[in-house]
Assembly symmetry: C2
Homo-oligomer: 462 residues x 2
């Protein structure tokens, strides 16, 4: 593979191309249980032009290209399963433009979510999409990430106004205008969001941002069982309360958090809630939410108005996964990610609890219950095929449950490697449309091969 | 074309196929200025199976198919410019399923917007997307329609959860699951919404519905000039007020409305506003909005809390176009539909005013100013080529202005025939992606040919 490195060093600068062992290793995996694969070379573009040069070269040579961001994927998106070029986007990390009057910001894909929010703070603005880890915005768009605030602000797809993309043929496009709405041409912005690097490389993002609200109040509601907890969450949505965050954390998870963070939350199913807006809105929301929750059998309900305490509470929620995994040193992490219509959520969560107790899988439940999405985080022994098979079977059972309830195999983590096997079952004949689109945009199949939508094995679409 | 009719009558029932003169004429035009073209035959499917049968036949015979809904398009979408089959979807007009707990409803494409809302009322629900006419929901999805409530509830794209579509090859797909969010596969729902019948025929829609709010308050704010009026509207959005409707009606339009409806609104630029939610939210919103508007130089501000008066006010707004056209008997209607980032709206509207007075075009301005979208409604003399050319030149100037401001040629009416010539300029190399997608999904180019995205004249995408 010296040839590849030498060619690319002739195209870019030599410090933008590496095949050192540690760099290759670093780009061989993400935060998931999936088996690492080394790329042949890692390239660090610093501009759209750099990306064009690399993609054009790769297209000519027939080399695979896998965009790489913060490496926080949970489904193996960035693993270069066919080798080739790992395209590390993290040097493209500038906030290029803030337009407060339009509630828009233009960023490069390597900007981290927390960095953006730090920068936006001085304008009284924030970017709401809030996944578990401090991911890169390019990666978040590529997987249609969402997280704790989706119930109010939507997923990445709802917060990307337009993308600059380098296509597999080296052309640079802007996927749409900056108008707040449009009926012009096909909407390809929503197609590129969530395309997992299979249709091109995102080189710039126009994102919607929001005004920091006047007041924020968090709350914690404890329930005797998961079913009541989930029903309370759906009742809050049903009451039309514009809750900002509404997170279910199950008892075993709370225990792990307590142990890890030194907190002393009751080890029962708990809703972590957040409300924000102007003072009068928030007062009204909290009051109604309290009534609804008490009607659903909440055993305790506490407000958290102090800013430090509120941040601690959400830090505990965000650290829940690390706290859980901390109990199983050396184990890998596998997560389910089903999402179902909200009315079906109690049934799906109960099924997960049932499956956990039947199978003995080491798992705990946490969920963005306002949008029908929950995770069973599992600690898996990657060296033990039986253990892996058991976790995988659990995952599959839960996916089938979700599909039978009208849901999806992945609410926010994306397909990557782990959810490919469910694509046919979930999408049916719509999969052929997706395959035809992929083939039309990337006829050589060089962009992140082996992820998301497999090429059609037979011509199903004529 | 007897052959076509006979074949189709053999496939469906004879009363589902017509080539009577009056039926052909009725399916030759919409509400726009575009030149009518007769279809060869009109088919009235009554089920998805009927649509599959017709599409399969058309694919085999190489006959064009143009879906037809309420016929209220403003850009010639339903005009069968290549002849063939006009597929009238209006017999598929059932509300199939209401799922209040999931805030979802399943409808056939021929259900009219007002019919759906009548049906939903008994559940305490409503469907928010509110275009000017009582369009069919299939047509609204096909054009990504929006209207007066977009500033709060978004466009069709934001309110379609999933579609059932008969593809050009006769296969039936559901574009996505019913989960509130998903990162599974490509998002093709947003691709089919706004695809104007070019990728397949919508046979069912899963739509998001919303709880009817506790309280609704409308208001009317009058300004001395358009610039102040637009600035007030952007200030309201900037203040984070979740206004439901915020419509600019310019002085000449108000005069037409007064004459038509017998109302006596001051003939000055006016914002028609609506707020809704629970009582305390609405009180807070109205109070803040009033402050903001007064800061921006409003000359009078009136609340409309009485339900009858409120409905009259919005009826006047919805009849504005008819009122305006009423002044020019025998004239056709041409409408601009540019949409720009909100900060650029004052500039775009002032440019429109300037162009109106320069060109002498008979036009008046009305706009969904909260989302950067406004229309210049023009009365055009279809028999007079000079008059048509002048209106067209006006349209073009305004489109170029919008594109230079980062906007789009069409915010909600769609491309149809009228905005095709701006697609290359607006989308640049992204147009080749759209063309490739169209060719991949409809390789025979039989679905609504001549609309939206033209096939590539040369192979630009390899």
């Amino acid at each position: 593979m010296n040839r590849l490195k030498e060619d690319l060093r002739a195209i870019l600068r030599s410090d933008q191309v590496s095949d050192s062992e540690s760099i290759l290793e670093q780009h061989s995996h993400d935060e998931s249980y999936h088996t690492p694969v080394l790329p042949d070379v890692v390239v660090f573009p610093e501009s759209t032009e750099d990306v064009v040069a690399v993609i054009s070269y790769a297209a000519k040579q027939g080399v695979a290209v896998v965009p790489f961001g913060a490496g926080s994927s949970l489904e193996g998106h960035v693993i270069p399963v066919s080798g080739g070029i790992s395209l590390d986007m993290m040097r493209m990390n500038q906030v290029l433009e803030v337009r407060p009057d339009d509630f828009l910001v233009r960023v490069q894909p390597g900007v981290l979510k927390d960095e953006l929010n730090e920068r936006l703070g001085r304008y009284g603005l924030f970017f709401p999409v809030d996944p578990g880890s401090n991911a890169s915005l390019g990666g978040m768009a590529a997987t249609n990430a969402s997280g704790t605030t989706t119930v109010r602000y939507g997923a990445m797809r709802d917060n990307v106004r337009a993308l600059e993309v380098v296509l597999p043929n080296g052309k640079v496009i802007q996927t749409s205008s900056l108008a707040p709405k449009s009926s012009s041409g096909y909407n390809i912005t929503s197609l590129f969001v969530g395309s997992e690097g299979t249709l091109g490389v995102i080189t710039e993002l126009w994102l919607r941002v929001w005004g920091i609200p006047e007041q924020t109040v968090a709350a914690r509601a404890v329930f005797s069982d998961v079913e009541h907890c989930v029903r309370a969450a759906t009742a809050i949505v049903g009451a039309g309360i514009p809750v900002v965050r509404m997170e279910l954390v199950d008892g075993p998870y709370i225990a792990a958090v307590n142990q890890y963070s030194g907190s002393d939350f009751p080890t029962l199913p708990t809703l972590f809630l957040e409300f924000h807006g102007n003072r009068r809105h928030v007062e009204a929301d909290v009051e109604v939410a309290k009534e609804v929750i008490e009607d659903e059998g909440c055993t305790s309900f506490d407000f958290v108005t102090d800013e430090k305490a509120r941040q601690d509470m959400w830090a505990a929620r965000h650290h829940a996964l690390y706290a859980f995994m901390h109990q199983y040193p050396g184990f890998g992490h596998m997560s389910t990610d089903v999402c179902v219509p909200v009315s079906k959520l109690p049934e799906a969560v109960l099924r997960a609890k049932e499956l956990l107790s039947q199978t003995g899988v080491r798992g705990a439940i946490v969920g963005h219950v306002g949008d029908g999405n929950f995770h069973v985080s599992m600690a898996v022994d990657r060296g033990n095929p039986d253990d892996m098979a058991r976790a995988d079977a659990f995952n599959e059972q839960l996916v089938y449950t979700a599909l039978s309830l009208g849901g999806t195999c992945t609410g926010e983590h994306g397909v990557g490697l782990g959810k490919r096997k469910y694509q046919q079952k979930e999408h049916g004949d719509a999969l052929a449309v997706m395959q035809a689109i992929r083939a039309a945009v990337d006829p050589q199949h060089l962009m992140n091969p082996g992820k998301l939508v497999d090429p059609a094995t037979t011509t199903t679409h004529t």
